[in-house]
Amino acid sequence: MDMALVGIVLVSHSGKLAEGVRDLLRQVATEEVRVEPAGGTASGELGTDAAAIEAAIGRADTGAGVVVLADLGSAVLTTRAVLADLAAGPVLVDAPFVEGAVAAAVLASTGADLATVADAAREARDEPKF
């Protein structure tokens, strides 16, 4: 039986940063979890792009909901603007980009629900690295 897993969207100023974290999550959390990067502008510059974020959210949603991680500043602002225009559901989590994404993706890979995955990402704020 296929169970829908929570999807992850990575909003970054940099396409390379978002794609690099996506590659990391594939190793840590298996390829079963859908992880969609949304980094950089449409012209490949550093920045954030509302249309790319919206499309990534759509691709990440397989029925169990979507957690969105943002790297800095305008990535948060642009994501909030996108979410304001979408139906309620996708959750933007206040968490460190890499650690939050790892915590969320690992929990998503266990089949955990949206609230649990979002909490895991949020808890990453307070986790010491060593």
Binding site: V28, V102, A103, V106, E123
Partner: protein
């Protein structure tokens, strides 16, 4: 009282990101709560970040401790993942 189970494992490889993720997935299949202990510190097997923060290196010893109705199976499953870490 809940049954409990402890298994000691010598890690063939460091408890880094990939094995930490595998431990969380293994433990998630059981009702028992599972912890990994290393060098006086304890990490829940529900948190990949906490498991990584133990800093358990290759060749070091960890204890998998499970408590709950299926503690034996949970500890065995997590220990198996740690023994296969690479």
């Amino acid at each position: 009282m809940n049954p409990s189970s402890e298994i000691t494992v010598v890690l063939p490889a460091a408890l880094h990101a990939r094995p930490a993720g595998a431990v969380v997935r293994a433990a998630a299949g059981f009702e028992a709560s599972v912890e990994v202990r290393h060098d006086g510190r304890t990490a829940s097997a529900r948190s990949a970040l906490r498991l990584m923060s133990l800093g358990a290196g290759a060749g070091s010893t960890v204890v998998v401790a499970a408590a709950g109705v299926d503690a034996d199976d949970a500890a065995a499953a997590v220990a198996a993942v740690l023994r296969e870490a690479s």
